[in-house]
Symmetry: C2
Subunit: 363 residues, 2 copies
């Protein structure tokens, strides 16, 4: 993440030269890409994130691969051009740019997305370094944080996240260049915009001197990277507050903490190994007498699958215990369920209770 731009540009150039040399010598050029799936990741708590286990697929230039090969090279060339001109392209824009590549043009965007993922995995860098940026945005911030960015002319800007009233600071797509100042005690990463707004309404960040992050469901790459950088640079704990269901546990929390299988080449940058799980846990349902909904078929399947195949869950006994408890209880719970006991219950009872015992948070 700290390599300078010309290093990535140089990497692309070298790779293209290797291909070129082989062709000149009438040899078949090859390109190697790591296999991107949960079956090709390993988890060590000390490293803190899913790493690729080392399986690769090798693409050799043949009659049947010529188009994909050409597309990969064109994609690399586009990346180099973006780096050299300090521009960027969204995934969708990259797809449309290919419409000028003649026969190497992509028919559908999923094709260009796959090639882009392969390119970033091959080089072991991330899309932002290749100057391809995600389409989606996401992640709002309120609380004790000053973000230091630059304006269009390169002058520094100090963005004070205590000064947005009922609004919030919306995280940009590329967060690498940002700097931070804060004396906050912790970061609270919240699943739903509704709960975020509830805590903003009750001035929770002011009372607790913390930074609130609204993830709005599964956090985007930019949101994950932003939280990771807060965690690294401010050196304060990050707590996750999400719905108590398999989607909240695995798709949101586990992805935030250790990453995912199909983008394991990115986890090093995009996951937040030091996050811990504040709630909502299955035990909270009992302790706080919360209204629930029955687990759906898909919830049960996802939970059983995690117990069997997820390296993160297989490593952490407390998670296995909690998932089994959830399966036994047969229910899921939403983070708004505390409203049953009054709208201020979450702020005045649940969060203080939990934070007083943060050693007991799930890993």
């Amino acid at each position: 993440m700290t390599e300078n731009k010309s290093a990535v540009s140089e990497l692309i150039k070298q790779s293209a030269e290797d291909v070129h040399k082989k062709i000149i010598k009438s040899q078949k050029p090859t390109m190697s890409t790591p296999i991107r799936s949960l079956s090709n990741v390993k988890y060590h708590e000390k490293k803190g994130y899913f790493e690729m286990a080392g399986k690769n697929k090798l693409r050799t230039l043949t009659v049947s691969t010529v188009k994909t090969f050409a597309q990969t090279l064109k994609m690399m060339a586009l990346s180099k051009q973006l780096i050299d001109t300090d521009d960027m392209a969204t995934k969708r824009e990259a797809y449309y740019i290919s419409k000028n590549w003649g026969k190497a043009g992509f028919a559908e965007q999923p094709e260009s997305d796959t090639i882009m993922d392969d390119v970033e995995a091959s080089f072991g860098v991330n899309r932002e370094q290749l100057k391809f940026i995600p389409e989606e945005k996401g992640g709002d911030i309120a609380g004790s944080l000053i973000v230091i960015d630059k304006d269009g002319k390169g002058n520094p800007l100090r963005i004070d996240c205590t000064k947005f009233g009922s609004g919030a600071y919306s995280i940009p797509i590329d967060v690498e260049g940002l700097k931070f100042e804060s004396n906050a005690k912790f970061v609270l990463a919240i699943e739903t915009a509704g709960m975020f707004q509830r805590l903003v309404k009750y001035d929770y960040w002011d009372k607790q001197n913390c930074i609130l992050v609204s993830m709005g469901g599964v956090p985007t790459r930019a949101c994950r990277r932003f939280i990771r950088r807060l965690s690294d640079e401010l050196n304060i704990p990050v707590y996750a507050f999400v719905d108590g269901d398999p989607y909240g546990y695995f798709n949101i929390y586990r992805t935030l903490k250790v990453g995912s299988g199909n983008a394991a080449h990115l986890n090093q940058y995009f996951c937040v190994p030091r996050v811990s799980f504040l709630g909502v846990t299955p035990q909270d349902v009992i302790d706080y007498d919360l209204p629930t909904h029955p687990l759906k078929e898909v919830d049960i399947k996802r939970a059983k699958d995690a117990l069997k195949n997820d390296p993160f869950v297989k490593y952490h006994k407390p998670w296995q215990k909690s998932i089994n408890q959830m399966l036994k209880m047969g229910v899921r719970v939403e983070q708004q369920a505390f409203a049953k006991h009054g709208l201020d219950f979450v702020v005045n009872k649940y969060l203080p209770d939990k934070l007083a015992n943060n050693k007991n948070f799930l890993p």
Copy 2:
């Protein structure tokens, strides 16, 4: 929207007293609610938005309606309590609060949402006035705008939307209390976060002295109301820049401009009658040689349905012409398609071309 809080609270009280009086007299109390569907709206360009055509459903207290009746009264009571204590509840929180209503508790959230919609339609006010706020957030702002909000202690805050660098100001859920200062020439409401980021990257708002709004798909209520208030209070034009497909034309643009059928009681507040359609139009596909995709079945159905049943389309001949042109061409186009001609094409060619002829925008 300008009535003070106690007026709505008083309205609720009177309505409850009417029901109470009838019951005391052993008469059957009734409640009347407007029918919320596209079949119960009318459109006049001068008014500028879909209005309800006046059909009502009458709910009488009987054995079979007793539960819904009780739920409606409880929902009204909750609203009154929120108004009186200056609090608010999300739709999901309101659902969970009902878990303490004994037999009047809702089994599923869609039930409580429907009662809430009926209550707001009955009183002719909107959910924000009842202190029920939407769950979803959405809408980012960058450009020549100062938003004036208050901090948690009631002190005024000036939020300068030129000072967010690569980030943005995230619109809060309730925008009624905000004030604005701006010398911008127009508002550009953009469908995708990717295009918004492209224009931010190229300092478009600075060069054109405008306000950029990222709607992120179909704009949320808060986003629509925010744009509407900009339009009213700054008295500047609003231009919409969305994908060239039936979803962009009707679900996004038409909803933004005149509102929707199932929430016609809100259109008065939430639509932006003065918005006009910059693009992408079917004619743009020809004029700018844009890459396209074939219309899907659902696109064709939606377009034909609009020609036949949508009061807005039936009123505006230029829209009928454009929709027929699209159906004849058989293609849809995305706003990122301009990238085919280079990433700066949209900023340096398309938008300037279009804005120079803004009299020709679709209505």
